[in-house]
């Protein structure tokens, strides 16, 4: 075999050597350069409709100096954290039941079913929740029909609705990552623990749960990072009471056309995501999921 490899060297044109270049150049031009440009713009300013290209930290000072902008950031972090926690609480039992309580030949079907609505349009899914939560929607209809309430509840257009929309999406994602982890845990571990006298509760808390944490960590990381950067769900379901950071960024773009400010806010968002990654990094063993 070594001879074959030898024979292949020294060709005039070796395709496999250069094939990586188009993707690499594309990523450099359309991903790395735009991020660099944004970083540069975040130090510029838009004053009276004109671009002022002197470097300054003015946008960042403005961001951290205005309560409503800092609130946008803290609101986003809160919503992303609540979303992540609730999604784990809902997804873990589901993944556990599919992995350990459903016969093996049905598991694949159960998993596919559990993530099928993942593929409805992201925009449309938020709209569907609006239908369900609206004043004349099916929840109010059912509650009034059952005589539990007389007047329809206002359930859409608030933080709870945003979190609900998020949890619906990310519970599916977490079910997938946790399930993938659970089915890899060797059954013999649990049997050995039981043989040594552990109760089912002890087996769960001392064997299964610790071994499934990588799957939880990967799913939780993806949930937090995607949720904190999402504009669509809070914009459709959240109403106007509070702004999340991506909404505040889009306001700078669409209303004020202030790209330097929007860039500074985006860079701040990227820093939050990077810090999250560093916190999670030691738990993130992607190859286990």
């Amino acid at each position: 075999m070594g001879a074959v490899v030898q024979a292949r060297t020294g060709r005039p044109f070796d395709l496999s050597k250069w094939a990586v270049l188009p993707a690499l150049i594309g990523t450099a031009i359309f991903f790395v350069v735009p991020l660099g440009v944004m970083l540069l713009w975040s130090f510029w300013q838009r004053i009276a409709g004109k671009l002022d290209k002197t470097l300054s930290l003015a946008n960042y000072e403005r961001f951290f100096g205005r309560d409503y902008m800092v609130e946008g950031l803290t609101n986003s972090i809160e919503v992303a954290l609540i979303t992540t926690a609730v999604s784990i609480v809902i997804a873990y039992p589901l993944a556990y039941i599919i992995a350990y309580r459903i016969p093996e030949r049905w598991q694949r079907f159960a998993v596919i079913l559990a993530v099928l609505p993942f593929w409805t349009s992201y925009v449309i899914r938020s709209y569907s929740w609006l239908l369900i939560l609206s004043e004349r929607g099916i929840i109010n209809g059912a509650l009034i029909g059952l005589g539990i309430i007389d007047e329809p509840l206002e359930m859409g257009y608030n933080r709870g609705a945003t979190v609900l929309g998020f949890v619906h999406f990310f519970a599916m994602l977490l079910t997938l990552t946790i399930y993938a982890n659970l089915v890899q845990i060797k059954k013999s571990y649990r049997l050995a623990a039981a043989d040594l006298g552990a109760s089912p509760v002890q087996v769960f808390f001392r064997i299964t749960l610790p071994l499934s944490l990588p799957g939880v960590a990967v799913g939780a990381f993806l949930t937090f990072v995607i949720a904190i950067g999402d504009y669509i769900t809070p914009q459709i379901l959240g109403g106007g009471q509070e702004l999340l950071l991506p909404q505040a960024i889009m306001l700078q773009v669409s209303r004020a056309a202030d790209f330097p400010m929007a860039s500074a806010m985006s860079m701040t968002l990227m820093v939050v995501v990077t810090v999250t990654y560093l916190v999670f990094a030691k738990y993130l063993k992607m190859e286990r999921v």
Binding site: A23, F30, I97, S121, L131, I249
Partner: protein, 266 residues
């Protein structure tokens, strides 16, 4: 284990599936609503909102645009991803680890930030807002996935067959086209279908990079600000149906790949 012990687990399973499917069922059901609002009581079934959908030339045009952008950007991302995977799987590339990391990096940045970086950069270098610009954005977000899918399917058994082809006098290019691509065909199709689905569904980059020609999610989002409307249900149902076709296709192809792989080694 007794049936009784299974009861709480099964109850939870059913509740979870109800939660997961509730929005889809409501969306699809009320797309057949006969009344003016997509809320109970359900009257119908009626296809009038689908008729309204077909009559809406902006929606139909946007649907065409979405299909075009999805197919072209998915094809581009798959080809670039395949070439990069081929290179990294077959050669000792200089700084291979860094290259892999760079190719996967766009996955870690939110679509909003990628989109905004492209808006600013395009305005500086003079690429106008257009379907072409949206397509570039979608290649950027899908390339990491396409690369990862194809890269994970490059294995030693294919390499041996490629070597055999080389021994028999095939050039690099011949081995690539006659051996490597056919063997990777399921992974390539799966990657194409996934990329097409994600592009087809993408809103924020398409919104930021479009002016006159818009894609379907952009129109749907715009219509949503006018309130609940059964036409949106009909449009959403159509979008969902097309996505599911693509996803199932990708899944069937990926499974087929795995099976033939198992056959090959087993």
């Amino acid at each position: 284990m007794s049936t009784l012990r299974h009861l709480p687990a099964m109850a939870y399973l059913i509740l979870a599936y109800v939660f997961i499917f509730l929005p889809v069922v409501v969306l699809v059901l009320f797309s057949f609503q006969d009344g003016l609002l997509p809320v109970p009581p359900f009257e119908g079934p009626s296809l009038k909102w689908y008729a309204r959908l077909i009559d809406n030339s902006r929606l139909v045009e946007a649907l065409g645009n979405s299909v075009l952008v999805a197919l072209v950007s998915a094809l581009t991302a798959t080809i670039l991803g395949f070439l990069a995977a081929y290179s990294l799987a077959r050669r000792e590339i200089f700084l291979a680890g860094a290259v892999r990391y760079l190719l996967m990096a766009p996955l870690t940045v939110s679509y909003l930030i990628i989109g905004m970086g492209l808006v600013i950069t395009f305005s500086m270098i003079g690429i106008p807002k257009s379907l072409f610009a949206i397509g570039i954005g979608h290649v950027v977000i899908n390339l990491p996935l396409c690369f990862a899918i194809v890269y994970s399917q490059f294995g030693e058994h294919q390499r041996n067959i490629e070597r055999a082809a080389h021994d028999l006098g095939a050039s690099d290019f011949q081995a690539l086209v006659l051996i490597t691509i056919p063997m990777l065909q399921p992974a390539l199709l799966a990657s194409f279908c996934l990329a097409a689905t994600l592009s087809w569904d993408e809103y924020i980059i398409a919104f930021l990079l479009s002016r006159f020609d818009v894609t379907l999610p952009v129109i749907i989002f715009e219509m949503m600000s006018a309130g609940l409307n059964p036409v949106l249900n009909a449009a959403g149902t159509v979008v969902f149906a097309i996505s599911i076709v693509f996803v199932l296709l990708a899944m069937v192809l990926a499974t087929g790949r795995k099976r033939s792989h198992d056959d090959a080694i087993g």
